[in-house]
Amino acid sequence: MDLLISGLREAVSLIVSLDPRVLQIIFTSLQVTGTALVFAALLGIPLGAFLGLTSFPGKSVLVALLYTGMGFPPVVIGLFVFITFSSGGPMGFLSWLFTTRAMIIAQVIIAFPLIAGFTMTAVGGVDKDLILQLKSLGATKRQIIMAILKEARLGVLVSIIAGFGAIISEVGAVMLVGGNIEGSTRVLTTAIVLEARRGNFGLAISFGIILLAITFGVNFAMSNLPGRGRRQ
């Protein structure tokens, strides 16, 4: 109990004192996860919408693959990215290993099946009559898709929140491909592992509290988005 209280106190003092090393870690976390989330959404939402709206032979295989991707151990994805970007690997020439870029790629791969899967479910749940109605009114295909995505926006938002939650809290993959380098690839989760290993439980728990606060803040902001949209 003492540790939790002193951890909380340390977390507050770390943030209040604007310790540059801590700010750097927070910034890297947000930069990596934010960038990865945008790319994952760019890939996942169209794919999810496509799968939710069409049917074609072999779709069930694709959907099963997507669901497998949703439960894939992140550290295995990390290993895959590591091997791909390692200097002997197919993308080794880029020298992206142990940079935030490799971390972003790993996080995109982790988040995009979640976003696609949840979007697919949300889009599939939209009333079929709406589609018929839109068609009868002479809407173009693009207009129909945008209307459906708008109708399913809450579900799409949940998909993004799920993707965000999965990658901001992930540690195995980013540790492997980022290397937890101070001042460049250290993020909140890997900093927690490092401090716990060193026995600095107070500092580790305060990083945990900061991570929790950020996740809560971002989720709170995101879940207020549709409400604002409705009022306008």
Binding site: V38, L42, S86, F98, T99, G179, I181, R197, G199
Partner: protein, 277 residues
């Protein structure tokens, strides 16, 4: 709908900006970037945090340190993902050099392993001066022992010691954790186990380990040498020029002296002994 599109475009622009920012920090400085892989115990001691800023300032390189288990450090060295390795598993490292992955091992410093155990010392290690007898008595009393179990330098060292005295570690008393040094110490502290640790990591964490104390020390077999190995430039595209400067830096007189003094203020005794000794 228009608003959503605008928001979307804005997000994409932000993402593009982030990538550009990330990119600027890299490409131009690639020639000045050195990646050093080391073991978690070395990293956690804080020695490199003390030495590397001086090197960076003197020579204008940017040294990025990655802390891994020895097995992993040597493996990414084989793959050419780092420029230089600082480790303490002499046999494994000499093999690494013999196989042509590294140019040569330069001896930098050494430290000492100690056997830690619970205060009440059920196997009575405090009462012996012979390492073989000490280890034997852990086995005979079936006292709990926490092993790193992660193919690290410390783990390799520990296995060699059991092997040397012909002790079979298959019993229930032997716990192979698969964890780093810090985690292993914390586990041993909770389990009231014996364990083998380098003195530096133990001293730096002593406050968090109230149940552990040094029960055996000083045997010659417990010395632990650290070396740096540049990755062979003929095999991989590494920053060999920078690496050579780093090796020279490590064995320079004033740096050796610094290594010998490191930790002395905080722990009443230094954590490492310079190779020059």
């Amino acid at each position: 709908m228009k608003k959503a599109t605008k928001k979307f475009i804005l997000l994409v622009l932000i993402a593009a900006l982030m990538l550009t920012v990330t990119a600027c920090g890299r490409g131009d400085e690639a020639a000045k970037r050195l990646i050093l892989a080391t073991t978690t115990s070395t990293y956690d001691s804080g020695l490199l945090g003390e030495l590397m800023p001086q090197f960076e300032e003197e020579k204008g390189y940017d040294v990025e340190i990655i802390a891994l288990g020895t097995g992993q450090a040597l493996e990414i060295g084989r793959r050419g993902d780092v420029d230089i390795i600082l480790a303490h598993a002499k046999e494994l490292e000499e093999e690494f050099v013999a196989e042509g992955y590294g140019t040569e091992r330069t001896y930098v410093m050494y430290n000492e392993f100690v056997v830690l155990g619970p205060e009440d010392d059920p196997a009575n290690l405090k009462g012996t001066t012979d390492l073989g007898v000490a280890l034997q008595s852990i086995e005979e009393t079936a006292s709990s022992f926490a092993s790193r179990g992660d193919d690290s330098g410390t783990h390799t060292k520990e296995l060699n010691l059991w092997d040397e005295y012909g002790i079979d570690v298959a019993g229930d008393w032997y716990n192979s954790l698969g964890q780093g040094m810090g985690d292993t110490l914390i586990t041993a502290n909770e389990m009231q186990s014996y364990t083998l640790a380098d003195r530096g990591t133990y001293l730096s964490m002593e406050d968090q380990l109230p149940n552990l104390t040094v029960v055996f020390e000083g045997a010659e077999q417990l010395f632990n040498t650290y070396g740096v190995i540049p990755i062979n430039p003929e095999r991989h595209d590494v920053n060999y020029e920078g690496v050579q400067k780093l090796v020279e830096f490590f064995i320079r007189d004033d740096i050796q002296e610094k290594i010998g003094k490191f930790g002395g203020d905080e722990f009443a005794q230094p954590l490492f002994f310079p190779a020059a000794d």
